[in-house]
């Protein structure tokens, strides 16, 4: 191995080490703080290639993108004495990495400390409303209010709050149970009412049908009686006209007919006195 080759190799290796320890890139989505012997030297917020003093300078990278902050759910008593469990979440961005570094240093610490701020604001705001408001169009206003309360405190952490939103809004189990039983009884009431309405309708339909039938039959009866009456009247007119021509003969003629009709035939036993009405003509004729 020649000395020259060794020298070249050494130079190259040193250059490589120098490069990697001095040069650093800041990604599009990042920002950096440079610490020189632990002291804050500067912040780098634009992406690109940068150099530092090896060993002396330490780089702390932070996200420049929007980050999540999801504090644990909180219980809060509302003005209508209902306790609810609310889960809020916030979106934020680190706008001042220096302050962020000094105040909390890590995301977890921020989550812990600022999460409490968010939850406190959340509780303050929703303690003033009742559930129906929380569920109404005003939900948006409530979230705005919380965001506003929290926004002011974001600066001291070096962050900007984009917004705070309410996620889950749940009733605690015992209240949920009440809601379920209310829903059940409500349904039962409706079911009963529906069945009753069905029975009502059925009865109305049946009654109407019965009425229709009765009326139909009564009308028919009326018409039938009229027709029968007309028939009988006509009969009387016709017969009256005919018999009226000689009432005396009619009397005789009809009597003869009736005698035949009622008395003729076998098995008739007649117990008569000679002067009964039946023998009116008999007597008259024999006496002549």
């Amino acid at each position: 191995m020649g000395k020259a080759l060794a020298a070249v190799v050494i130079v190259v290796v040193l250059a490589a080490i120098g490069w990697t320890s001095a040069a650093y890139t800041v990604h599009q989505s990042e920002q950096a703080i440079i610490l020189r012997f632990g002291e804050i030297e500067k912040t780098v917020s634009e992406p690109g290639l940068y150099f530092r003093y090896p060993i002396a300078d330490e780089i702390v990278m932070y996200e420049k993108r929007i980050l999540d902050l999801d504090p644990p759910p909180v219980k809060q008593l509302l003005t209508d004495k209902k306790t609810i469990e609310v889960d809020a979440y916030a979106r934020y961005r680190i706008i001042d990495p220096l302050v962020f570094f000094q105040r909390v240093r890590t995301y977890n610490t921020l989550e812990d400390r600022f999460g409490k701020v968010v939850n406190a604001a959340l509780q303050r705001v929703i303690a003033k409303v009742d559930l129906s408001i929380l569920l109404s169009d005003n939900r948006d206003d409530i979230m705005q209010q919380i965001t506003q309360e929290v926004e002011g405190q974001g600066g001291s952490f070096g962050i900007k709050i984009i917004d705070v939103r309410i996620g889950r809004t749940d009733l605690p189990p015992e209240i949920s149970q009440n809601v379920y039983s209310r829903m059940s009884t409500d349904q039962e009431r409706k079911a009963r009412e529906t069945r009753a309405l069905g029975a009502e309708q059925a009865k109305i339909i049946r009654a109407k049908a019965d009425r229709d039938r009765t009326i139909l039959l009564a009308e028919a009866q009326r018409q039938a009686e009229i027709l029968r009456g007309e028939g009988e009247a006509e009969r009387n007119l016709i017969l009256g006209d005919a018999y009226g021509r000689d009432p005396e003969f009619f009397d005789f003629y009809k009597s003869m007919q009736e005698y035949r009709k009622s008395l003729a035939g076998d098995g008739t036993t007649m117990v008569l006195t000679p002067d009964s009405d039946f023998f009116r003509f008999f007597g008259q004729e024999t006496r002549k």
Binding site: Q28, P47, R213, L227
Partner: protein, 372 residues
């Protein structure tokens, strides 16, 4: 000494470590390079080959540089976009599908993003086709799926949200966890919309509106975060009363069917009796008409008969009258049993001896005094 397409000072390393491959692949002898280096050391500090010295070293350097640059070549598939970064900085370089080149690795870096793929976020359940090979069953996540409705009831809702990347740069550089952000925002939006909708609409016909409102609100939220996400679809998979009250709701359904059944039965009854009554009514009227006609016809017949007899009678009244009388009497008396009791002797004295059956018979069959 392994020689790979290294990065980071590639050309230098290639030049420095060129001994191995050059010795193996080139077929030249090691002493030559030592000689060369010795000579070059005489002239310059570094690699400037001497006139008669081999041109191999620069060639190797050029080749290595070429290989290095070639590692900057990348391919963007259909439906994807490439975002080229130089030293971590993005200068609005977005590339369309095809074969592209960026600065090679330590300098350049390319993010490739699929802007056509539809992604899914499920709220209230896990499973379905995506994970079907491991577990086909869809699991309900009660914690997510139970939502308070506008009238303070609780509904059990499962939603599937489809989204895709609309703006790759925003998606990559503006938000840390786009996927989880979509999920959290979707849940928040869904609950907000459901919280403003009455229960019956949520589980009933209002679903479409809930879907539409959630989509709009969710898009609005995500736009406010500048996530570059486009919500394609919000689909309510299931929306029903919670398991605890499902029986009561089923019973209401049954009640509605019962109601319909009762009404149908009643209607069937009405449909059967009214026409029958109409038929009965017609029969009564027809019968009456028949009776009327019968009365008239009979009366006319009777009248005609009487008049005919009367006309004949008037020709010889006395004779005819006697003849008619005698004929009637003979007909009546001819077939009857006759008991004639003198009125002086009759009355109470004889009647008790009359046989009762005979009287009974006469009463039932003879029909006395029906017409006068």
């Amino acid at each position: 000494m392994p020689w790979s397409n290294q990065n980071g000072g590639g050309p230098w390393g290639g030049g420095g470590g060129g001994k191995g491959p050059w010795g193996g692949g080139g077929g030249q002898q090691p002493p030559d390079i030592e000689e060369l280096l010795r000579r070059s050391q005489d002239r310059m500090k570094k690699i400037i080959p001497g006139g008669s010295a081999k041109l191999l070293l620069p060639l190797i350097v050029i080749f290595a540089a070429f290989v290095w640059i070639a590692t900057g070549v990348y391919r963007v598939q259909e439906g994807e976009r490439g975002l080229e970064l130089t030293f971590g900085r993005w200068d609005n370089l977005e590339t369309m599908p095809g074969l592209r080149i960026n600065w090679p690795p330590p300098i350049g870096h390319t993010e490739i993003v699929n802007v056509q793929k539809s992604n899914r976020v499920d709220i209230g359940f896990r499973g379905g086709e995506a994970e079907s090979r491991s577990r086909a069953a869809v699991r309900n996540i009660a914690q997510e799926s139970l939502m308070l409705t506008g009238d303070q009831n609780i509904a059990d809702i499962e939603v599937r949200i489809a989204w895709r990347i609309g703006d790759p740069a925003r998606f990559l550089f503006n938000i840390q966890n786009p996927e989880s952000t979509v999920k959290v925002a979707a849940e928040s939006a869904m609950r907000e919309v459901v919280g403003q909708t009455p229960f019956t609409d949520v589980v009933g016909e209002g679903r479409g509106l809930v879907e539409q409102n959630t989509l709009n609100l969710l898009q609005e939220i995500l736009d406010s975060y500048e996530t570059g996400v486009i919500i394609e679809d919000v689909q309510i998979q299931k929306s029903r009363p919670p398991a605890q009250v499902v029986d009561a709701f089923d019973d209401l359904q049954r009640a509605e069917q019962d109601k319909e059944r009762l009404e149908n039965e009643a209607q069937a009854y009405a449909n059967s009796i009214v026409p029958e009554a109409r038929g009965d009514a017609q029969r009564m009227i027809q019968e009456a008409e028949a009776y009327k006609e019968q009365q008239i016809q009979e009366a006319e017949g009777e009248a005609k008969r009487f008049l005919a007899v009367y006309d004949a009678y008037r020709v010889a009244p006395d004779v005819t009258r006697r003849r008619m009388y005698l004929e009637a009497i003979s007909e009546v008396f001819g077939s009857a049993e006759k008991v004639i009791i003198d009125s002086d002797a009759g009355g109470t004295g004889v009647v008790p001896y009359l046989p009762l059956p005979e009287l009974q018979k006469r009463r039932t069959t003879g029909k006395p005094a029906e017409s006068q």
